[in-house]
Subunit: 245 residues, 2 copies
DNA sequence: TTATGTAAAACATTATACCATTAATCTGAT
DNA sequence: ATCAGATTAATGGTATAATGTTTTACATAA
């Protein structure tokens, strides 16, 4: 009966990445700190520079560090964001594991709840930001992408107002996927995003009435989502022609 | 104004990774296929083996390929799973961006909805699997981790039954984080997971009544979540002592 | 038939050299 | 004294080659 444990083989680079990651999570290195240079790490870990580099690439890919070239360059510890989580969702979406109706179904559950929490956490600062975002939404702009930025701003503010980072990261992912669909087909924003679309939602939030906010958001997501699903066919026709990371 | 686009500097390895990823998403390579060997890719891309390796590590890290050593080894395309998404959530959790109350709040919203969908998609196959899982839940076992496996099985089946991969990936993430908390403190499962805890949920699902399933799951998550939050302090004491990838 | 040894394919790692980028420093003219 | 431009040094980026390690398939002998 299993007298010996199998000799587990780690890749050298993984062992290195593991140790560095642990240091970061333990607080030995904090956001903004610079890790030792690749050459110095080579000596500390007693492995080749290649192994160090692979480890750093791995940490970079999971969002723990960024690297810069040049004097005073190196690997800098970052404050972990939801960006890489969003990328993971994006990959599943691009691989067609997640469909547009899936996306819509989740938004319909998550975003009203986020709106409710946001209404409950309302304060003057948030109020000001929401009104500003709403005001800027319907200003005429040239650039398609900038327009999308403005149309999504309200959702991000509400996500932040939920004071729940899981929800915030989730909303960021949902909006990123939605936005991809729109940008893929370059949908006319007038159609998909009629002027003033978010006004009822914001107004409900501003009353501080969670239930009203919930309902207003639900109505918004429903309307928007139905338009979005109509675009599904157009999306699948143009898909794959240009893929982002 | 902007007449010229800036000459964007990609790392060679990123350019390579991008091209391979695009091939996979376009279906040039399918799950199970083997990519050319590193040396062959070196010739195709006309870059060093280093660059190829970094690209492959990157793709491996995002879950698109696995690599094996030896004869007939190489980089094999995989069917993308939610595993790496779960890792991204785990990192945010370990970095204390996501708290246990955050986690609970999201579960309370997501899982009842998943239960509702599951009830609506009920069929004989699912029925059988649910009953089996329920039966195995309270069998006495030696191993702590195996016990946790059994206690989470019902949630995974329901997630699958939702027939929405976004929800499924989300539930997998939520359960993984929850499980981490439990395993970190090695909570007595009798306390946190009383025998028969999932029975009311499964029974509601089996009636096919979405609304009943919704309510039953809500009640379950609430009870369980309250116990979980009581463990929060214990969790933060033992944290960081052992970090997984 | 069944071990056991051997070879080959492929990734894993190391080592070394050189290239490219960047911030700081120096230098000199105004 | 100040500012522009050149120089320098640190650091990551890339390339190449050699060697180590793992795994499978196959041959060989008991």
């Amino acid at each position: 009966m299993a007298r010996f444990k199998p000799v587990k083989q780690f890749r050298v680079s993984e062992e290195v990445a593991e140790q560095i990651k642990k240091s970061i999570l333990q607080g030995t290195f904090r956001a903004g700190d610079r890790l030792p240079s690749e050459r110095d790490l080579t000596e500390e870990f007693q492995v080749s520079r290649m192994a160090i580099r692979e480890a750093l690439r791995s940490l970079e890919k999971s969002g723990f560090i960024v690297t810069r070239q040049g004097v005073n360059g190196g690997a800098y510890v970052t404050d972990l964001t939801s960006e890489h989580l969003v990328n993971a969702y994006m990959d599943l979406f691009l691989a067609e594991k997640i469909s547009i109706p899936d996306l819509y179904q989740v938004r319909l559950v998550v975003e009203p709840e986020v709106a409710r929490l946001a209404a409950n956490n309302l304060n003057e600062g948030y109020k000001k930001r929401l009104l500003e975002a709403l005001e800027q939404e319907d200003l005429p702009v040239q650039d398609f992408y900038e327009d999308n930025d403005r149309k999504t701003a309200v959702h991000f503010i509400l996500a932040e107002m939920s004071r729940n980072y899981f929800f915030e990261a989730l909303v960021r992912s949902l909006i990123a996927l939605t936005r991809r669909v729109i940008e893929e087909v370059r949908a006319e924003n007038k159609f998909i995003h009629p002027a003033g679309m978010h006004r009822p939602v914001v107004e409900a939030i501003l009353t501080g009435d969670g239930e009203a906010a919930y309902e207003a958001m639900k109505k918004h997501v429903k309307e928007f989502g139905e338009n979005l699903i109509k675009l599904e066919k157009a999306y699948y026709q143009k898909k794959i022609t240009s893929l982002s990371s």
